[in-house]
Amino acid sequence: MIDTESGSFPSSAMRVVRRLLQSWPAAVSLLILLGVVGMAIFAPWVTSSDPTRGNLRERLQPPSVEHLLGTDEQGRDMLTRIIWGGRIALQVGVFSLLIGLVVGVTMGLLSGYYGGWVDTIVMRATDLILAFPYILLVIAIVSILGPDIFNAMIAIGVRIIPEFARVVRSIVLSIRSKEYVLAARAVGASDRRIILRHVLPNCTAQIIVLGTLMLAGAILAEASLSFLGLGAQPPEPSWGTMVARGRDYLVTHPHLSIAPGMAILIVVYSLNVFGDWLRDLLDPQID
């Protein structure tokens, strides 16, 4: 396990940047991700049209100077919709990640630190969540809550909880009896203070790595849900919805499905490459 006790923040940040410049795939993925985030944030300014408005008289047009990726069956500009789709993907990804992270890390900390019945309950709960294939659990939760983008976030967030809980718990277990924790306890620090000041900082590196990879999974899950019609509802330009709607026109206008799928692939790919690189960097044990 890692131990980031040494090194102040600025110097370790510098180290990360230096290592990043040495690995071009990671650097490129980070650039792509920053680009996608930028486009998502500034979507209203980088696109000229509303993603939900189209001109029916200009429907199903092939790519052209005016519409770089053509138009869909409502006459909406595909490029605009894909850029706005990034917004939805990131929103759902980040919010569900936050749910999973906050709840999962808390559960992991408590269960690792206190052990006993808290640990048993937390572990059985995570067992249960992990007893279903990822997408099936998410579908099951959404079918209880009703299909929309907000419920999709909750469902994906719930599925991510055990991933964080388990990793954090195992780290806590390994450092619970370390000297500085024991020392803090000896001088009478409260549990709350020990957890927040001594235990949690030791988990951050792992949490960041896991978060990156889980974000990739969450974006894929949102796309899958929307593809099945259980996520974003029309006219929201979710990438999964766009792939699904393009299916009817697969023979005549394949780009309607291919382009949004490409967007998913690029973002998830970049997250995976960057996440792998982070893991290698922060956890030298693997590879």
């Binding site: 939900t52 008289r57 409502q74 006459g75 019609g229 029309p234 005549t252």
Partner: protein
């Protein structure tokens, strides 16, 4: 080719070989017969006519027959009944065909017909479509091949209504012997094909009925219905000759199919009017001005020219043009008028350009059954965009048509005041399988007929009275007058937004003959031929 595989891989290869073999054997089983393979979008839950809620009528009509049928020109012609006579306003006497047998071997006679009516109307376990038989009061066996049906009150469309595929006659004695579950997996009717096997998830297979009443028919040995949800998949399968008939294809694929050498697209505009029924208990839609503003804010003609370019046809009234009793009376796209109506009703645009009244936005959500009608979601999305452009806070929600219908059914049966059903407006396409306007007008739009309530809870006494006249056995001119006046009431009240009637598109392989699309959505398989 000889490849040496390590033992551990061989173990893993075993399940694959088993898998391949199990798929392969089912292929080999029928090679020599005249097989017609039909691809449908989805697999029905059951093909037992007593409990089928839909999705299997095409298959059911191969196994079962009704007493009468509608020919392709919508004329009523005999089927299991040889002839019929209207004894008086409330009594019909059917003379049955002699010597017909069910697939089980049981005789088809007056007793069997009476048993069927009784089973459908059994209060303990009524047939799913028993609502269509609501006018029936009593069925009497006159002699072995004559049966008399007595109605509670005069109901003109009754005989025609017996032609719908919901009302095919099944073998009640056999269903009693096998029980509902047994019968569902071995149904027995009088149709040209009898049930052979149901490979769940894959195919329903029917074989020719050797004792079919018309000699020399059917002309093919096997009908095999398989299920492919993707339209593009069905077309591709048709193109490569994997299947012979593909159902439910999108209209925009017609030009592509025309270019294929061995494929012919078949098109037929359905009579079925698809309408967005307004929920008349919704506080916003209670105001007739809002309803009228909505229908005038939608440019259906533009949608017709673009999204429905190769598909359905925009409705020019609540009933499809061409149906008996329909009236052409389009609302038309008049955005300025729509804005005036809203302003008059107290709706004003806020700073975001959205209509508001007393601080509440003009928010409405339409439920769309996405899987049943071609282009419905695209049409809904186009309407949504148009209304949003004009300041409506308009949403659509796509769900499976069957669950949408179940939701509507349960809401319309509980007509408590003040209880708002969970939808503001809802897609409802009412079949006119007998070609007459009374079906949607009485069942979908009124509380006064049938077991069911009106879909959108619209109820109008004037309308009900006119329809009560229209369904009487009357001279045509008087009957049409009543039909048209009833629709004028609708035009004044605006209980819904008429959308379009779908275009049914199917594709057939060369060699398939005797196969036609029926505008009232009937399917008669006995004339099908395969010449290869």
């Amino acid at each position: 080719m000889k490849i040496s595989i390590p033992v551990r891989w061989r173990i893993l290869a075993l399940p694959l070989l088993l898998a391949a073999a199990s798929v392969g054997f089912s292929q080999l089983a029928h090679a020599q017969n005249k097989i017609v393979r039909i691809a449908m979008p989805s697999e029905p839950g059951t093909i037992d006519p007593h409990s089928s809620v839909g999705g299997a009528y095409e298959i059911m009509q191969a196994i079962f027959d009704g007493l009468v049928k509608l020919d392709h020109d919508l004329n009523l012609v005999p089927r299991l009944a040889e002839s019929w006579k209207q004894v008086d306003d409330k009594t019909v006497r059917f003379k049955l065909r002699e010597g017909v047998k069910f697939h089980s071997g049981n005789p088809f006679d007056a007793e069997a017909v009476k048993a069927w009516f009784d089973a459908m109307l059994d209060p303990a376990d009524p047939g799913v479509s028993a609502g269509k038989l609501k006018p029936v009061s009593k069925v009497v066996v006159v002699d072995k091949y004559t049966v008399e049906i007595q109605l509670k009150e005069a109901f003109g469309p009754f005989i025609r209504s017996l032609s719908i595929p919901h009302l095919v006659i099944y073998d009640v004695a056999e269903r009693k012997r096998l029980g509902p579950k047994g019968f569902a997996s071995k149904p027995s009717g009088t149709g040209a094909f009898r049930f052979k096997e149901w490979r769940r998830g894959q195919a329903i297979v029917l074989e020719a009925n050797p004792d079919y009443r018309e000699k020399g028919k059917p002309k093919v040995d096997i009908l095999e219905f398989s299920f492919m949800p993707e339209p593009s998949g069905r077309i591709a399968a048709l193109e490569v000759g994997q299947i012979d008939i593909a159902y439910a294809l999108p209209g925009h694929q017609v030009p592509r199919m025309e270019a294929m050498p061995d494929v012919t697209p078949l098109k037929k505009r359905a009579l079925r009017p698809i309408v967005w029924f307004f929920n008349m208990r919704h506080p916003i839609l209670l105001d007739p001005a809002v309803r009228r503003a909505l229908v005038h804010a939608v440019d259906m003609d533009l949608i017709g020219e673009t999204i429905l370019e190769h598909g359905g046809k925009v409705l020019q009234g609540y009933i499809t043009q061409g149906a008996y009793g329909g009236l052409e009376m389009p609302f038309g796209y008049k955005p300025e008028y729509s804005a005036l109506l809203l302003a008059q009703a107290g709706w004003n645009k806020n700073s975001d350009g959205i209509y508001e009244k007393n601080g509440k936005k003009l928010t409405l959500t339409a439920q769309i059954g996405v899987d049943r009608y071609p282009d419905i979601l695209a049409v809904g999305e186009a309407i949504q965009a148009q209304l949003r452009d004009q300041g409506w806070d308009f949403h659509i929600r796509g769900i499976e048509q069957s669950s949408l219908e179940a939701g509507v059914q349960s809401a319309r049966k509980t007509p408590h005041d003040g209880d708002v059903p969970p939808y503001d407006m809802v897609t409802w396409g009412h079949g006119m399988r007998d070609g007459q306007a009374y079906g949607p007008l009485t069942t979908a739009w009124s509380n006064a007929f049938g077991y069911t309530g009106s879909v959108g809870h619209w109820s109008n006494q004037n309308f009900d009275q006119l329809m009560a006249i229209a369904v009487k056995p009357l001279p045509e001119q008087l009957q049409l007058q009543a039909y048209h006046d009833a629709q004028r009431v609708m035009y004044a009240e605006v209980p819904g937004l008429p959308l379009y009637s779908p275009l049914w598109v199917r594709g057939i392989q060369s060699g398939i003959e005797g196969y036609r699309l029926h505008s009232a959505e009937q399917e008669y398989w006995e004339d099908l031929e395969l010449n290869r």
